[in-house]
């Protein structure tokens, strides 16, 4: 069995994981595409390069988009975000990884993307063929805008995230989380309840439909632990939950727990940190 693997770049993490999956399926040829991003044109180049091979991509936004274009061009089924492939059967993630689906592909060719962090990064590189995109259908990136982050550490890159949920109670309630975050050089996050209420902008939302984070420490304050939220923070290396409800689901996902009112506990942590840091 021969497999063509599409790498978004030669060195990104999700592409490396896709390479690991591809190697487990057969003899690998690796390709990347250079040029302005134009999904239909990129997909057409990959379709031609693949011949009749299986095609694997990374489970990134772009990987899933390019593979969906490939699938539409070939009129073949496509399984996004697989965590395992066994012949023509596979396991893929649903609900942001909080549920799994076992499925069967009815196709001679397998088109799949590797679910993020389901596979180890590939050891050792691969010779990568650089493809030129085919002419697209006029859909290509014409500009790029970067948000003004005001010099703050971004949610996706932060080593520590201090996150608040319904229990914070109001937009103003986040002041104590901001204060703690500033001491830890942390980003402030929140749950979907909070953005829906308009207390924080959507760009602060951690979750299945928000940002997926993987900090060294995630501090969940007054967050109940809905699957929507867990899908966004399960990549954290350690999770500290602060919640008044000792039955809260979040504790089943936590490494450390503090039970009680976050409005008293968070300022106490801030004060203790200041004392320890001597400021």
């Amino acid at each position: 069995m021969s497999v063509l693997v599409f790498l978004e770049s030669a060195d990104d993490e999700l592409s490396s994981q896709a390479l690991t999956l591809a190697r487990s399926l057969g003899d690998v040829r690796a390709v990347t595409v250079e040029g302005p991003y134009a999904p239909a044109g990129w997909a057409a180049a990959i379709v031609e390069a693949a011949g009749g091979d299986d095609i694997v991509g990374p489970g990134s936004d772009r990987g899933n988009e390019v593979l969906a274009h490939v699938a539409a061009q070939l009129d073949l089924p496509f399984a996004a975000n697989v965590s395992e492939v066994r012949g023509d059967e596979l396991t893929r993630i649903r609900w942001g990884g909080t549920l799994l689906e076992e499925a069967k592909l009815h196709s001679d060719r397998r088109l799949v993307t590797a679910a993020p962090f389901a596979f180890a990064p590939a050891s050792g590189g691969e010779e990568v063929t650089v493809l030129s995109p085919f002419p697209g259908n006029g859909v290509e990136v014409v500009d790029h805008v970067a948000p003004d982050t005001g010099g703050k550490v971004s949610l996706a890159d932060a080593k520590v995230v201090v996150s608040g949920g319904r229990g914070v109670g109001s937009a103003e309630g986040f002041a104590i989380l901001e204060e703690l975050a500033a001491l830890l050089d942390a980003a402030v996050g929140c749950s979907r309840v909070v953005t829906s209420a308009g207390w924080r902008p959507h760009s602060d939302q951690v979750g299945q439909t928000g940002t997926k984070v993987s900090p060294d420490l995630y501090i969940a304050c007054g967050i109940s632990g809905a699957t929507q939220h867990i899908a966004g923070c399960k990549g954290a290396k350690a999770l500290l939950a602060i919640n008044a409800d000792r039955e809260a689901t979040i504790f089943a996902h936590a490494d450390y727990a503090v039970i009680g009112d976050l409005h008293e506990i968070v300022p106490a942590i801030t004060a203790e940190l200041r004392k320890v840091k001597g400021s």
């Binding site: 689906e101 069967k104 299945q208 503090v258 940190l273």
Partner: protein
Amino acid sequence: MRILCCVKRVPITGGRMVLTADAQAIETKHLGFTISPHEECGVEEAVRIVEASGGEVVVLTLGPDEAAEQIRDCMAIGADRGIHLVSSEEWDAQATAGAIADAIRADSENTGPFDLIVFGNESADAGGYQVGIRVAYALGLPVVTGLKGLTIDGGRARCEQEVPGGRDVYDVPLPAVVTVKEGLNLPRYPSVPAKLRAKSKPLDARPLERPASRLEKLRLVVPEGSRKQAEILGEGPGAAQRVVEVMQQLGVA
């Protein structure tokens, strides 16, 4: 502007996934239903565009009888009419896209083409990342995905797609297909009079036979997960000292 929004009925899952005995679906006996968060923003955006410049917002869903509830919810936000492809079974992405493309062609024959067809970037439940793209190919339309910003001007759509470190911008002619993400806007809560008005808006429902799935769901599985036993650092503000000790052990303080 004539805008079609495609939405999917999904359960509000809460904290724990519980499956039916045959492992084919989530046990929803005690759950409410909604549409995917991305789609809520899609409907809101369509309604805002039509409020500003006139036209019509049509909502389409493929789902069981009960999915009429979600169409009415979208009508309460401001959608004008609904198309309900009725099937109680779960369809794979390829078959779903085929049925939606057929329904769009049929509707266009009667009432003219849509200028904009809006999907969520991926459904909350199946997360296939492909229905909108497949529909665009079936209809021969351009498609841009993952929108966090959309401006319609002079028969073109300026689309801002979220990427790491900012947004990529596309400029495409209408008619076009777009898929959107939550954060595009903050959807409104429907008023009580709007909910009442929604009840009398036109809804075209027709049953559909599901074709064979080429990505066939065999069964669902709840991941074992870590099922961690959290170490309790204390109760109330008195726990602060232990918390800071843990932060120091983790090397973050």
